[in-house]
């Protein structure tokens, strides 16, 4: 019986890694190039801003769902808290926007720590509790003094609006998210997260600190939507509880992430790109029936590609799993 030579196995792994990182670099380069020129060619800035936002949101969600196995239906809570943190710091405390944005991320991390006990739950129980917690966050902000949160009219950031600068900050946030998830996908933490997701007891037996690993994954998943909320508040210049905690934000994030395929770096990118462009095309061609057709398209996608676009591709070609980011 021929045993694989350890050195040839190592060379094989190195070759796979090389292809993996080359593909990741090419994908990242194409994404950077594409978005970087948008403000210079007179393209629709807002459309591309939100495209980047959804890629970031779906990628963040991927960490929680694809890597850790948690389905947070209240994912919007991080986004909403991030949006209000930026708005309050800028408008009420006079922070420069660029200084306020890291605090939005920090607020997301603090909220994630507060929600951390819910990680003991799993499956649908976690999803429901997460949804309830998002609702509680919204209620807390709604009932805070109007001088601070702006009441039902929300907070306007006024003359702080800088569409092009905020566009590039969104781009930087997206690249940071993609870089983090690329690192995570090959790191010990990423492997531990997947192990815990697949079989927590077995992972525990192998010496994985389940609580710590889950918490790290949860914190990464919470940071990016909170920053997204802050950047979006800056871009649109307005934040209120109705829109900042809108469940549609979670719904879109989940759909885009699942459409691409959970558990890979490229899945949420492909999912967001395909779905946002599809949405745009349908919106332009069918002004009155756009949401109905989009709903049908989403149903068909989930029915025929239940693992998402990238997930289905990898199922057809399992060998590519080593190379596709």
């Amino acid at each position: 019986m021929n045993r694989p030579n350890p050195s040839s196995r190592s060379a094989d792994r190195e070759r796979a890694d090389r292809i993996y990182y080359t593909l990741a670099a090419l994908l990242g380069g194409a994404v950077i190039l594409y978005f970087a020129v948008v403000p210079f060619v007179g393209a629709n800035l807002a459309f591309h801003f939100y495209l980047m936002l959804w890629i970031t949101m779906a990628s963040g969600f991927n960490v929680s769902s694809g890597f850790s196995g948690y389905m947070p239906f209240g994912y919007v809570a991080f986004y909403g808290v991030g949006a209000f943190t930026t708005a309050i710091l800028v408008k009420k405390l006079g922070f420069p926007v660029l200084l306020a944005l890291p605090f939005s991320g920090l607020a997301g991390l603090v909220l994630a720590l507060l929600f951390a006990p819910t990680l003991r739950l799993s499956g649908i129980y976690f999803a429901i509790v997460s949804l309830a917690l998002a609702y509680i966050c919204r209620l807390v902000i709604t009932n805070m003094p109007e001088e601070m949160t702006g009441g039902s009219f929300g907070i306007q950031l006024g003359s702080q609006a800088e569409p092009v600068l905020s566009f590039y900050v969104m781009m930087a946030t997206m690249m940071l998210a993609l870089g983090t998830i690329l690192w995570l996908s090959r790191s010990r933490l990423g492997k531990a997260l997947r192990a815990v997701r697949d079989d927590a007891e077995a992972a525990d037996m192998m010496g994985v600190n389940i609580t710590r690993v889950r918490l790290y994954g949860w914190l990464i998943a919470a940071f990016f939507p909170a920053v997204c909320g802050g950047v979006e508040a800056w871009y649109t210049n307005i934040v209120d509880t109705e829109t900042a905690f809108n469940t549609l934000i979670t719904a879109k994030t989940v759909i885009y992430a699942i459409a691409g395929g959970l558990g890979t770096v490229s899945g949420p990118i492909v999912g967001a790109l395909v779905m946002v462009w599809l949405d745009e095309l349908i919106w332009r061609q069918f002004p009155l029936l756009n949401l109905l057709i989009l709903g049908l398209a989403t149903v068909l996608l989930v029915l025929f590609l239940p693992r998402g676009i990238v997930g289905t591709l990898l199922r057809w070609r399992p060998a590519w799993r080593r190379y596709v980011p």
Binding site: T142, G151, Q156, A161, I238, T243, L248
Partner: protein, 409 residues
């Protein structure tokens, strides 16, 4: 590839972008006004109701040959796109209207949040935006150059006509109560401020929690404070309960003010409890402003039936607000003789206090904030609802003090 061809290839996207950004040169074509409508979501009904009002104005202005600019009449074309009541969709839609549809000016979407998100796009592009439904005062405190609220009064002033009406009736002591939610709180705050300015004594200003069903303590407290008028603000359901509990407890004030008390549902459900209560509204058969521009209420309603025979709902105050905004826009364009944003803003300021539309008088300040177009004050009298304030549209004198419950027939 020759070097010249290479550079031309490189420059092509830049040139194309430059041409796309250039203002539309068609001086004889229709004036294109961009607007978003919500096909779905929270604002769908109100936005579509507003759209029907804007369409009445477009139909009317085009039937008169259009708007005169530089001696030539140009028709108006409304370019509508769907915003799905979604704040994250609005910036893209307004950018599409400006960059791709090349509209000359814009109407705001429905509601303060969507309008605030849209203003960002219009100001960046240097386009003029007419607001018809956003009441948040904060929109006008941001230093925007090219926004004008044509018909929608600012939120802080919404509750003030009621106080003015009560003051004119002779009320000197007034008790306020409000649901502990931002909108009733903001409305009440504006009303309290004005009452104090007018020299009235505010004997009580209490909030109550959402879900409160027993208002007896609040009612007794207001009575014990010595108030002549009671002004509790909440949503329609709570207000019906308050009206019922006032009668059940047999607590009499000289005047009771409930903002929703002239709405059909309130009248139907509250029955006798609604008698003599004061309220506010913008569109009612009895509110007939002497319009200086555009159609009057009856004509607008007639045109509504003609243009929208299959509309699911009858014209409401959103319809009137959007129609009135169209009328004001027409005068602004005519006065400016241009669709340039700066000239339009200048004209809008020049026309302040010179226009009365179906929703009332138009008065703005430098920020574009609307100060008039105030709601009219109604009173539910035994013979039917009457307008009791302001005097320009009043159809009856208010009954003040109102008869005690045990003296009513």
């Amino acid at each position: 590839m020759k070097r010249r061809d290479f550079f031309l290839t490189l420059a092509a996207p830049v040139l194309a972008a430059g041409l796309a950004a250039a203002p539309a040169l068609a001086q004889d074509g229709p004036i294109r006004i961009g607007m978003t409508v919500s096909s779905t979501g929270t604002f769908a009904l109100a936005a579509q109701s507003g759209l029907r009002g804007a369409e009445i104005w477009v139909d009317d202005v085009n039937s008169r040959g259009g708007i005169e600019i530089g001696g030539k009449k140009r028709k108006v074309e409304l370019v509508k796109l769907d915003d799905r009541s979604d704040k994250t969709t609005v910036p893209k839609v307004y950018e599409t209207l400006i960059k791709e549809e090349k509209v000359d000016l814009l109407f705001g979407p429905f509601g303060s949040t969507l309008t605030a998100a849209a203003v960002n796009a219009t100001e960046t592009a240097g386009k003029f935006m007419v607001i018809w439904s956003a009441s948040a005062d904060s929109i006008y405190a941001q230093g925007y150059k090219y926004v004008v609220s044509a018909t929608q009064i600012a939120g802080s002033l919404l509750g003030q006509p009621g106080v003015r009406a009560l003051h004119s009736m002779g009320v000197k002591k007034i008790a306020f109560a409000y649901l502990d939610e931002p909108f009733p709180a903001a409305l009440t705050q504006g009303a309290v401020d004005l009452a104090k300015q007018l020299g009235m004594e505010v004997t009580m200003n209490e909030k109550f929690a959402k879900g409160t069903k027993d208002f007896n303590i609040l009612i007794q407290k207001a009575k014990a404070s010595g108030a002549e008028a009671f002004y509790p603000t909440a949503y329609e359901g709570d207000q019906m309960t308050i009206a019922r509990q006032l009668r059940e407890a047999n607590v009499n004030f000289n005047a009771v003010y409930l903002v929703y008390a002239s709405q059909p549902q309130f009248l139907q459900q509250a029955g006798k409890d609604a008698e003599y209560i004061l309220s506010q509204t913008l569109l009612h058969d009895k509110i007939n402003w002497k319009v200086t521009h555009g159609l009057n209420r009856a004509q607008m309603m007639e045109r509504y039936k003609k243009l929208h025979p299959n509309a699911q709902y009858t014209a409401d105050f959103q319809t009137a607000l959007a129609y009135g905004a169209g009328v004001v826009t027409e005068e602004i364009i005519k006065t400016a003789g241009s669709v340039d944003a700066a000239k339009l803003k200048e004209a809008a300021l020049k026309l302040s206090d010179k226009i009365t539309t179906v929703t009332g008088e138009y008065q703005i300040d430098q920020t574009g904030k609307q100060f008039k177009n105030a709601f009219s004050i109604m009173q539910n009298l035994p013979g039917g609802i009457e307008v009791v304030y302001p005097p320009q549209v009043a159809t009856a004198k208010p009954v003040y003090p109102v008869p005690a419950f045990d003296k009513r027939k």
